[in-house]
Amino acid sequence: MRRRIIQFLLALAVVMIPIGAIATVSHMTKQEQPVTTQAPSSQEYESKSFTEMLVNFWKQTGIYAILNPQEGVKNARGDEITPFQQSVGRVIMIAITFVLFYLAIAKGFEPLLLIPIGFGGLLANIPLANIIGDGGFIGELFKAGIENELFPILIFMGVGAMTDFGPLLANPKTALLGAAAQFGIFGTLVGAVALSQLGIFDFSLQDAAAISIIGGADGPTTVFIASKLAPDLLGAMAVAAYSYMALVPVIQPPIMKALTTPEERRIRMTTKRKVSQLEKMLFPLTVLLLTILILPESSPLIGALTFGNFVRESKVVERLSKTLQNELINIVTIFLGLSVGSKLAAEYFLVPETLGILLLGLVAFSIGTAAGVIMGKIMNKFSKEPINPLIGAAGVSAVPMAARVANRVGMEEDPTNVLLMHAMGPNVAGVIGSAVAAGVYLSIF
């Protein structure tokens, strides 16, 4: 073992000593040699000495790039990148992607999205590489599916094919809980604008609207709206949306408990009516017709969702349904995650707006949860059949996590009270609700 080390230290010395020497010199003289572009193409390579080669190589290492940030440099997409973002910024962002990996793997937070997004972020922060630019593979994926809204739409098809709207059909009025929870979106819009007026943040009305959609607790809707209304904020918005969706078991219970009495949390809901296959099959068509009549701007999102669901419930195209639920959504999840992750590059993420987005996203989630619970209390008061206000919290979407949380909080009071299927109604209604909210924004802006 030691012999090997000696042997290779010897070999290494041949390589490392000149590199080190040159590096020191180069570092001392770098003020005099302005580097205008990050990856200078060597035209007349014939005349270089080996030392020059080593210098060139050294200047193309990531260590050099991080230690020697330059003014006025542009990234692979042509956007400016400050010296801070080139050096410490990249290190911070790489650390953040590692935190995302930790959350995804050790804590089980939405790993299907956070792992591709995190890895995309890792790749996006590599100095000198052109991965997120034109011709780079993540840049190409971004063009192929985010710029033209294709990836979130395909995800929505898969979500439609995976979702059973039966619980909603068994108790349609719980859909109103899914409506109330969208107050997380519109309430946050007002809050964001107010904070901007107060000079705390600096968001335009359009940016504020985009950010508030995080309160819809729906990943693809957030990516869809962000790429339309505020493409620069896409990275932070997606990270906020998926992170808070993953954090639902942490964020929601305190709010739910604060707004309900133990008696309310113990309310048992009556068994729901039978749902026929025919009803399930008609449901996506009904929802789409309503969308056509009332809010055509929502039709890309709701169209994709109902298409996937119709493929599922028609029962005659099982192979298409299976493909939507598996291969297609998996492939698109990988591509979408990597593409969205490219917005975790330091130059896009380490900007003042990010903090505002993370904060407002959390506020939006909390408001949505509270609005759902309060609506549940109101409905319980006015409805003949008892309604447990806890299922209102599931109205934010975040399917099926929010419904499970509602169930768990209910069981803490009464372990025999199973709310899961009752909570699935507002939960899936919340998906439709936030797609409608997205349509409202699209029709305004």
């Binding site: 519109f186 039978k274 009803e279 309503l290 409608v436």
Partner: protein
Amino acid sequence: MIIEAIKYMFLGMGIVFLFLYLMVVVLEWQHKLLLKYFPEHFEEEKPKSDRRERLKKVAAITAALHHMRNS
């Protein structure tokens, strides 16, 4: 601008409620209609999970055999 945002809040929540409320109304009306004209669709279906059932049986028998064999 804050007034503007509040207006949009009312507009947005109004539309969301309008949409989902109409959906509830249509779904309940549709349910009644289906119940009236296609009652057969709401009858108890025979459980179709035959295959899974059989697989479970295979597993059960195997487990039993395994138990017998090991004891």
